[in-house]
């Protein structure tokens, strides 16, 4: 058995060819994330946050070094193995919510379960549970076009967590939301993190998000320049009254 590290990278580097030279998007990143953490990559634009998140999500392969995610070596996974790992154990949330416009809220959330081959009755239960969490159970039959931006992002969260993944990766989940909605969805995710012990990894430069993180990893030019623990805002708030 492995220890409780859900993500572990060793000298992880990613370079993109750029004309005659090469661009180092990630430069010898060493990182270990424990199960149940609620952490974020922060740093200026172009610092490598998305690149790192994509490698952790098995959507991209490292140029050198290694990354173990959920016990699997990312660099040696085939397309199919990577897809299976994502399908079973990783949820994604994107900056643009990426709901499929032709499907209802219910069907959007249902999609990952269809891939898992779950039967209709259990799908229904899981989807309604997930919608309950994000407070949208009554909008199950709406189309994405009928929802506000904040509601769409909550549907996307429901879609990411409906299969109860061990790891949720969220790239700038609040970039298209106003302050109120940002806080709302962050609180939802904090709650999920506590109740389901789901590990959350964010990539963000949003101060509002940072306030909720209990660990901040600061990237600059593809390197980790700071790795600090921080109190979760909700915890702080919990203690105040």
């Amino acid at each position: 058995m492995q220890n409780s590290a859900i993500i572990k990278t060793e000298n992880l580097s990613k370079t993109y060819p750029l004309g005659l030279t090469a661009l180092k998007a990630l430069d010898t990143v060493n990182l270990s994330v424990a199960t149940g953490e609620f952490l974020g990559f922060i740093g200026p634009s172009g610092s490598g946050k998305t690149t790192l998140l994509n490698i952790i999500g098995c959507l991209d392969a490292p140029t050198s070094g290694s990354a173990k995610v959920l016990g699997q070596p990312v660099e040696s996974l085939s397309h199919k193995e990577a897809a299976r790992l994502r399908m079973n154990r990783i949820g994604f949330i994107f900056q643009t919510f990426n709901l499929l416009p032709v499907y209802t809220v219910f069907e959007n959330v249902e999609f990952p379960l269809l891939l898992l081959g779950m039967d209709a009755e259990r799908r229904r239960g899981h989807v309604m549970d997930a919608l309950q969490w994000v407070g949208l159970a009554d909008r199950a039959d709406s189309k994405p076009a009928q929802l506000s931006g904040g509601e769409c992002q909550r549907v996307a969260i429901a879609r990411a967590i409906v299969k109860k993944p061990e790891l949720v990766l969220a790239d700038e989940p609040t970039a298209n939301l106003d302050a109120k909605n940002s806080h709302h969805i962050m609180q939802t995710m904090v709650q999920l993190n506590k109740e389901l012990k789901t590990t959350f990894v964010f990539a963000t430069h949003d101060e509002k998000v940072m306030a909720y993180l209990n660990r901040k990893i600061v990237l600059a030019d593809g390197r980790i320049v700071k790795d600090e623990a921080g109190g979760q805002k909700s915890n702080v708030r919990d203690q105040k009254p």
Partner: protein, 430 residues
């Protein structure tokens, strides 16, 4: 999963309605053209057989060598025996001896002087022997537009168009001027019994039809016939059977050297296809058909490929998401193909239905193409050409319909497939 995808397909009009429309249109044209060309080939084949060559025919070798000149001096003799043996050997065909001839028809006035004279192309056919197949083959009864059918020797049927031009009425006398089998002048008096309209250009312009025995007598061809035509009873050309019959018959009359005279007058059988230039026409039509269908497949593929490309571009977000959620690339690609096949099948069904409806209308009503035909055209092309639906008409449209959607989406999908997963994923961000 498939249900989920099809649900999406149905709800996304730009992915379903538009391609289905294109496929239906192409399939409809293919089906219609197929039925139309098919009908044209059938109509031309039947008219050619009916009035000219039969599905197979027997001539002397010498006659066959110059058949286009109708050389009656080289005609078959002793026809009764030959006819009887043909009937016995190949009872699945109807056998009809005929004499084709050219001549002048002379219409006298009351004093017996020539009033009108006109060239005619004559046909001597068996009208009076019991069970003569000619009534069915030539369909004389329904071709009659004025007067009455011949009831006794010496009566002549004449093309109505010709009769009107010469102002001839039923019951009037006419003299046929031609040359006998031995080259001397032939004169024979006839009574005009009735006027015919076959709806086939060359026949309607200049045909006269008389009983075979009258013509034999006029042209001094005792027990002779230019040709003995064989007809399949279903009035369809069965090429393999025709070739088999021809081979069997010709094997009994091995070819001698006609130039030396030996065997010059021995009979030879030929098929519809080997005569009358029809084989080239049929071949060309078949080639046209393939070219047209090929062009349709190509054009539709290009349009659908483009529609597929813009569609997939629009859907990169969806693909990226599906990959992120854990669907693998092959599965996404296959689902694209399945979608396109659904579109192809739906479009093909709709197109085939509409195409068949059009074709059926034209099978019943036909189109009058006589105006488009050159006046001196000698080919037996009917004035009214009809479409002809056959079993193949029901399936032919599925070929371009499904191929085009398949190629269209397969090519469009490769663009998606070739992209790196991370790249697709990035496009989510834009």
């Amino acid at each position: 999963m498939i249900r989920f995808l099809l649900k999406g397909l149905l709800r996304d009009r730009s992915r379903s309605s538009f391609p289905v429309l294109i496929v239906s249109a192409g399939v409809m044209l293919t089906v219609f053209l197929h039925a139309w060309l098919n009908g044209t080939i059938l109509n031309v084949t039947q008219s050619t057989a009916q009035f000219k060559t039969g599905y197979v025919n027997v001539m002397t070798k010498a006659y066959a060598a110059r058949a286009d000149q109708i050389p009656n001096d080289l005609a078959l003799l002793g026809v009764d025996t030959l006819l009887a043996s043909l009937k016995q050997q190949f009872p699945d065909l109807l056998w009809a001896p005929r004499i084709m001839f050219g001549g002048l028809l002379d219409i006298p006035d009351e004093k017996g002087e020539t009033k009108e004279q006109t060239p005619v192309s004559g046909l001597g056919v068996d009208l009076f022997s019991p069970n003569s197949p000619e009534w069915t083959i030539l369909n004389i009864r329904s071709a009659l537009v004025r007067g009455h059918l011949p009831e006794k020797q010496g009566e002549l049927l004449i093309a109505d168009e010709l009769a009107q031009r010469l102002n001839i009425q039923p019951g009037q006398k006419a003299t046929l001027i031609s040359s006998t089998m031995y080259g001397s002048m032939a004169l024979e008096n006839f009574t005009i019994a009735g006027m015919l309209r076959f709806g086939v250009g060359p026949m309607d312009r200049s045909a006269v039809i008389a009983d075979l025995s009258d013509i034999r007598q006029a042209l001094d061809m005792q027990n002779g016939a230019g040709e003995i035509l064989g007809f399949f009873r279903d009035n369809l050309y069965h090429e393999e059977r025709a070739n088999a019959i021809t081979a069997e018959f010709n094997a009994e009359y091995p070819s001698n050297d006609p130039e030396n005279g030996a065997g010059k007058f021995s009979p030879i059988m030929e098929t519809l296809r080997t005569q009358s230039g029809l084989s080239e026409v049929l071949d060309i039509m078949a080639v046209y058909m393939r070219i047209i269908i090929g062009v349709f497949v190509f054009a539709m593929s290009v349009v659908l490929w483009n529609a597929g490309l813009t569609g997939s571009l629009r859907r990169y977000g969806e693909f990226g998401l599906r990959l992120a959620v854990g669907e693998n690339k092959g599965h996404v690609y296959r689902s694209l193909i399945v979608e396109s096949l659904a579109v192809g099948v739906a479009g093909s069904c709709i197109g085939t239905a509409i195409g068949l409806a059009f074709s059926y209308y034209l099978q019943v009503h036909g189109i009058d193409i006589s105006g488009a035909m050159p006046k001196e055209n000698a080919m037996m092309i009917p004035d009214v050409v009809r479409a002809q639906i056959e079993p193949a008409t029901f399936v032919i449209g599925f070929l371009p319909g499904i191929l085009a959607t398949f190629f269209g989406s397969a090519i469009a999908g490769i663009g998606m497939y070739k992209r790196q997963t991370a790249q697709l994923f990035k496009e989510l961000e834009t």
